[in-house]
Symmetry: C2
Subunit: 333 residues, 2 copies
């Protein structure tokens, strides 16, 4: 398998330097570690919001650094949790005096290392709160995870909590907003092909020429079933019905949706999925308030997509629609 | 090869409907044809700017519809020029009384059909001007093209001309800005893998497991050479040197750069390329004023990238940095 890389061991380091070279006014790298923060971090008087996890999901998380979203993003090696030391340093670098919220995707290593880092930072006098995102409705317990996995719904947590912090919310209020998103969001993914990690250089799992995997995780963890190739409409219907079953929304409920590409999927295909998604939501009597389509949380070069649905009330609409300015997501006033 | 589509013949139609379903406040579809326009088109008293070409390059062009960029985008079948009828209807729908600029990528079918469409629209009383983008420095004459091909530099034409039109520039002034970008921009691309069209369902060209193609076109047209796999740094150096040789810039010149993904390339790899690109530009004494990294003009699921360099003066910096609000590119005040 071919990749645009130099040494596999240098991928994360060089990627982070390439991001700083692209957005020097927006992000900077903490000396000697694999953490990017807002260029102006810590922001005095604002609750800091940080996230992190294994690399390979770009633009997650560093793409969401900036006004109205994240203050810090830690990048582990590909599909590997960042260390507790990295995370502690990030938390302290993002504390503007009002405390720091850690947004953690539910993988055992991430949860464990964020727990340790939070304890260490608290010993240094930082108020730390934590939320764990577990939006993947496909499976309970999986490779790397007890309970449900945290996937693309995390970006809506970054957006809503980030807006609340930018508006001057307290640590408790920002955490409450993050929890509200987590309570109201569901996601399910699928893959047409496996991802290929730089270290291994070959597919993480085998998928036949006529097979797809439903309920896939963002590291290629097994899903709910392997089936014959289905049409885009069939795939969309399957994923959406599973998400809606989990959310059990009332008719007339407003929602934000994400059709997320896994990294190797042409944008045209994501729009074809979005077309059917909106049709299915309409059949359920749901009202789409905002629809996002693009690569938000990827799995290297995997072909496939995930569908996220999040029920929104007036508060979440105001926060998700609020201005932000980050490399991967910009919302104007 | 597997794709998230329904019938291959429905790809463009369904993709356009999926875009409208995602951005109903920003774009609308002209009845019965494969053209999207700004939701509020025609904008009274503003020069209209339209573009178009074969599909398969998303987000090009419809992703750039909106305030500060395009008014209309015509989508041909995959890698096939839109018809003159479609183009004429688009031009007329985007005329707010001040005339319409057509931004055409240099492919024979596109140029011919835009020429015909412009003549027909002029007979209906619309002032039409046209610019042809030919930024690909790799080859003179190619499959589908006499002269140089038009590729990712086109997005900077949309951005600068779009800003000029939004500021109230006349048709002549908007055209002059577009020509200034075209005179100062160069691009070169490469592929790790071939794209796969929905109709054919298999690779457009054969590339060995250890080969890459330099100077590739955005439809998989042949490039300058096929070589053994190279590192990201070697690829970047090769592409950048070729572009700089063509542009022949003075030391101290400010530039805007684009590292553009071909559709199947992980974002992490594009940042690794950007890191080296900025290093090479620094060695040449050039000053990067703005660096873009992402999928701007793709070739379906092709893995690879292109590098664009555009010399900018105060006028172009002001216009490229001006606010815009489109599905694929948003710049805040």
């Amino acid at each position: 398998m071919k990749k645009l890389i130099n040494e596999p061991a240098d991928v994360v380091d060089e990627m982070l330097d390439g991001m700083v070279a692209a957005y020097p006014d927006q992000v900077r790298r903490l000396d000697g570690i694999e953490v990017l923060v807002r260029e102006d971090a810590p922001v005095d008087g604002k609750v800091g919001i940080v996230s992190g996890g294994g690399s390979g999901h770009e633009p997650t998380h560093a793409g969401y650094l900036g006004e109205g979203m994240l203050d810090g993003a830690a990048a582990g090696e590909v599909f590997t949790s960042p260390t507790a030391d990295q995370l502690q340093e990030m938390i302290q670098a993002c504390d503007g005096g009002e405390g720091v919220l850690c947004v953690v995707k539910n993988y055992e290593g991430d949860v464990m290392n964020f727990d340790t880092a939070a304890e260490l930072a608290e010993m240094e006098g930082v108020d730390v709160a934590q939320v764990v995102v577990n939006d993947d409705v496909a499976v309970e317990d999986s490779l790397y995870t007890s309970g449900r996995r945290g996937v693309c719904g995390t970006i809506l947590v970054h957006k809503a909590a980030g807006a609340k912090a930018a508006q001057g919310g307290s640590l408790e209020e920002v955490q409450a907003v993050a929890e509200k998103v987590i309570d109201n969001v569901g996601t399910m993914g699928m893959a047409l092909t496996s991802c290929v990690t730089p270290e291994k250089g070959e597919p993480t799992f085998d998928l036949g020429e006529d097979e797809i995997e439903l309920g896939i995780g963002i590291h290629g963890e097994p899903g709910t079933e392997r089936t014959d190739v289905m049409s885009a409409d069939e795939v969309t219907e399957h994923l959406t019905e599973r998400v809606l079953e989990d959310l059990a929304l009332d008719e007339g409920q407003e929602v934000v949706t994400i059709v997320n590409g896994m990294g190797g999927t042409p944008l045209s295909e994501l729009f074809i999925v979005n077309r059917k998604l909106q049709e299915v939501l309409g059949e359920h009597g749901l009202e789409t308030w905002d629809a996002w389509v693009g690569d938000y949380m990827t799995s290297l070069d995997m072909m496939g997509c995930s569908i996220t649905v999040c029920a929104v009330d007036d508060e979440l609409k105001e926060l998700i629609g609020a201005p932000c300015d980050t490399p991967a997501l910009t919302v104007r006033e």
